[in-house]
Symmetry: D2
Amino acid sequence: MAEEFFDCEIRVRYAETDQMGVSYYGNYFTWFEVARTEHFRDKGVIYTELEEQGYFLTVVNVDCTYLAPTRYDDLIVIRTVIDFIGKTSLKFTYEVFLKEGMRKVAEGSSSHVFVNSEMKPKRIPEEVCQILSH
Amino acid sequence: MAEEFFDCEIRVRYAETDQMGVSYYGNYFTWFEVARTEHFRDKGVIYTELEEQGYFLTVVNVDCTYLAPTRYDDLIVIRTVIDFIGKTSLKFTYEVFLKEGMRKVAEGSSSHVFVNSEMKPKRIPEEVCQILSH
Amino acid sequence: MAEEFFDCEIRVRYAETDQMGVSYYGNYFTWFEVARTEHFRDKGVIYTELEEQGYFLTVVNVDCTYLAPTRYDDLIVIRTVIDFIGKTSLKFTYEVFLKEGMRKVAEGSSSHVFVNSEMKPKRIPEEVCQILSH
Amino acid sequence: MAEEFFDCEIRVRYAETDQMGVSYYGNYFTWFEVARTEHFRDKGVIYTELEEQGYFLTVVNVDCTYLAPTRYDDLIVIRTVIDFIGKTSLKFTYEVFLKEGMRKVAEGSSSHVFVNSEMKPKRIPEEVCQILSH
């Protein structure tokens, strides 16, 4: 079975660069978040609606490996895969490409737990689990 | 009567620079926010406690004039003055100095309204108003 | 003559919210920057190319008035007008709308000076000036 | 031999929170950067001077595990250890504590390579290597 992925395009903002002339390393995690939201939306899951229903997707662990820099105004592609989905947890993997030539410049992952507003783990709604698993 | 001010020191972070090699212009508003919090703390008003009591300080208007750049690792001083305090509103003015030599590099202001959690204007508690006025 | 504007769509990121549940006030200036870049691109001026030619667009003064909050996942429209263009300077005005219903939620402006890499004012190239004026 | 660490205090800014009411996960990497700078300064190495001499500390890999949330106005302690120092590379580990009670709330690491302004690996100056190793 082919692994299902979602590609999200982002243009690097001036605010996201640093004085080394490249994108600041911490901003990749913001891009991962944007890619997660759009991956969900692509599947019909609106993250804001999950929060309105009392589900919050906290982050447990993240990592990122930087292969080559990205720069201001670069059009990048964040390729997201839902790597794992359990009863209360979820893991995404990410690959970042420069759109021109689709050269991979970074890769990473993030592990999450669904919690309620008191930050206690909460089982993912069955329908959402079904949608995200396919 | 001498105008009362509060000086807050901040060191410019690498994350706050951009590829021009200077601090990104939007970050000054983050620094203004840090300076407001510390000005309040200096007077004995803890902003988190205000929020716990249902008072939120929204921003209505801001401006900033940039006289000279600041750079990574610069130690800067944000001088804050409570310019005006009304029944539900508050105005701060800010001057930004490079600590070394106290050369002024920027100045700005922010106008605020206290609101409740539904974003409706809410009268500042009398005791807070008293404290902030003196 | 009708005033010429450029509309740039931006979706509010989770990273851009704060604990008040709305977009943090300083982020509007990042959005203004994105809108400027796209306004330039729409006219055929690539800002990165200007920097490569030794022209840097520094910010001299900004302001923003917040009429209503924006929130995570809101699709907003930044309407940019080049308000003024002189020999070395440039002024933009911005209006921010919620795309749904095009309700105005903020407005602001930014004044800029073109400088060289030593931060000295530098005359805008004639052809760029021509393009931006029309 | 006791492992040598450096403790850097940071107060969580309002700008660093998100609508979940906690610090946004990507900001921990900004704090790690601040802690690295201060660790270097504590040892007598000024990172800006390294850059002026043509040494740039790029990031190759990072990770972070979040054990408990941090919130606006929390005073946190970033404990930094130089875990490894090679000819061109460097690894830091970090532990994040809430200062009150010194409860650990996160931990992470970052691996770096020193490069020149063309982003090619560059051997760390011997004296800096000596200083950082002790």
